[in-house]
Subunit: 373 residues, 2 copies
């Protein structure tokens, strides 16, 4: 059985246990859902229907792409349903032999007007759209990486580390002197190493822009790593899975404020990673870091981290908000990315990808704060 089929069967078992006959996944412009890639390998626009009995139907926009990339037996082109999701739903119900009265689970991001249209198009079925349905099950499955995914993560982490080494050398030598230089170095490097793309827009912020959590635009023709603190946040996507790291470059002798910020971020990064192990609430790790910062009068204006995977932001959550109930589990891969920002001093952030193991945590990437002197 292919990995993809194993994943679909695991979801189907979950559906069966909750008396859901059929779940829909949708990956379209405006509502990207990489779960379809997770369950089939198909990386582009498609609908996917998974039934509780384990059978599935893929409805791709581009049949040529699906023929070469999707690992699934049953496919019907979206064009055959006149490019209507409601017609595709009706067709899938018939194709998979779902009985009237059965419970059909819609993605939790289904717009309210579309929900109404599904109900009107297939009035004999019981449509559900909740935050506790198949979308949540898929997110929880995707949060715990399987053997295939762990192998991919070891590869993408190694490529990311190699990129960081070359970036550090390039900045030190003066060869990479602007935000654009670094972003384009990454774009070329990752493709030479067999990656698909950047995992997200590279954020390269020189000293005048590093106070922003996520600089806008993501990179410009401006100088990087001149006097002060510069932030580089990037990820590489390998076989669909993205790394996510942040380096900080410090040029010149840091003043007292910057010295304190850098020291606190390093401490937070070290202690947070040391606290990561199975059974620990990710919220408690985030609260630990909040405490390290608040003791010195600082506040971090973003969460401590997040899961990574086919999307750069996945489950589990790693933040101190009260609604975060995630417990770290072997197979979780999360970012730990403490950062502090000041409109005058600039920003400093240090981010690595961390795998939760049976006994603790393994740091997959090796990011750094580079002091250039």
């Amino acid at each position: 059985m292919s990995t993809y089929q194993t994943r679909r069967h695991a979801l189907a078992a979950k559906l069966a246990s909750e008396n859901i006959a059929l779940a829909l996944f949708e990956d379209t412009e405006g509502r990207r859902d990489l779960s379809i890639r997770y369950f089939t390998g198909q990386p582009g626009d498609a609908l996917l229907f998974i039934a509780a009995d384990g059978r599935s139907l893929l409805v791709p926009w581009d049949m040529n792409m699906a023929a070469s990339m999707a690992h699934i037996e049953d496919m019907v082109a979206y064009g055959d349903f006149k490019r209507s999701p409601y017609a595709a739903m009706a067709g899938a119900l018939e194709h998979l032999g779902i009985q009237p009265g059965a419970v059909i689970d819609l993605p939790d991001v289904t717009p309210y007007p579309m929900y109404i249209e599904y109900v009107e198009a297939c009035p004999d079925y019981d449509f559900r759209c909740t935050e506790a349905g198949a979308s949540k099950h898929a997110a929880a499955m995707r949060a715990v990486k399987d053997a295939d995914e762990l192998a991919i993560y070891r590869a993408v982490a190694a490529i990311t580390d190699a990129a960081m080494d070359e970036i550090e050398a390039g900045v030190r030598s003066g060869r990479l002197a602007t935000e654009t230089d670094i972003a384009l170095f990454i774009e070329r490097f990752l493709r030479e190493k067999g990656c698909e793309a950047a995992g997200f827009d590279t954020l390269a912020a020189g000293p005048s822009r590093s106070f922003g959590i996520h600089c806008f635009p993501s990179y410009t023709a401006a100088a990087f790593a001149t006097e002060g603190m510069s932030i580089l946040d990037f990820g590489l996507s390998y076989k669909g899975y993205t790394s996510d790291v942040t380096m900080t470059f410090v040029k010149g002798k840091p003043d007292a404020k910057r010295t304190e910020m850098i020291s606190l971020v390093r401490k937070a990064h070290r202690e947070a990673i040391a606290a990561c192990k199975p059974g620990v609430k990710s919220r408690d790790v985030a609260l630990l870091v909040d405490g390290i910062f608040s003791e010195k009068g600082y506040v971090m204006p973003h969460g401590l981290g997040h899961g990574v995977g086919l999307e750069p932001h996945e489950m589990p959550a790693v933040r101190s908000r009260e609604d975060n109930e995630w417990v770290l589990t072997p197979g979780h891969i999360i970012t730990i990315e403490p950062g502090l920002y000041d409109t005058v001093a600039g920003g400093v952030r240090l981010e690595d990808d961390v795998l939760i193991t049976e006994t603790g945590a393994t740091v997959l990437t090796h990011s750094r704060i580079v002091e250039l002197g």
Copy 2:
């Protein structure tokens, strides 16, 4: 009055005429809506409330960014609402003095579960979420470019033309030899010219991949413009507004099949643009192209075009589907992008951005099929 305020007042008048007291716009991860940039200048995560009396409230994630980029008087940080959209809604209703019983319009992409939570959080109000609400009004407003936007489009079209000239020269000289070479040339060029970013992922497909409508990955280390047909589809984002063009490069003497495909695409591009003028249904322009292709036994597997603006795909629709009721209007900027694809011969597409004027159409960009011999 700033352009942004003028736009907000125009929307407010529309709301008042439909007895809607307040409209919400949401620009967040997973539900990007550039309408907030259109109405305020703020390019990042935020909620925006516009009341029928013309008053507005922006709720940004990053107050530093908003202070420097948003043109609006009233702002409250999302953090002040504990980062909850429901708390922000309750706060906005109070802040703007909206009376109980009033009609509140939610974005048409609001997930069904969120709709239910808004209703539960603010039970004294009448929440609406339809495809005919403020989202649709904003899309219709954005489809007709105002004077500020037309000036931006003349600038981004000129930069895009300059990029195409340099790309053609670089390919002819052999300097740009791979998909990556071209994509990275564009990334560097656009920033040197003051653009923010690529308008979307550059699609560079050498002869072995050009049969796909949208190649995946978007570009690789593979050769470009070797024997056969290669497609380059890119756009530049200037002050937020994106161009969208496609060039095709033909290397070697094209065989009979390729010769026919190229000739048909050129004819379709020419005749479609000639047909564009105010009062014409965009569907009829698309049907004209369908006819040109079907007469020779070809089928185009995508729509003829689409509006461009703050997002690469905007209104009006330019396709032959029966539900397309758009009538071309002065100020519309649309793409015309006929293309034909064959798994053996490869693909050919020619795409330009076209402004509808009072009397006809002006082609803003100057794309081309480059025959390299």
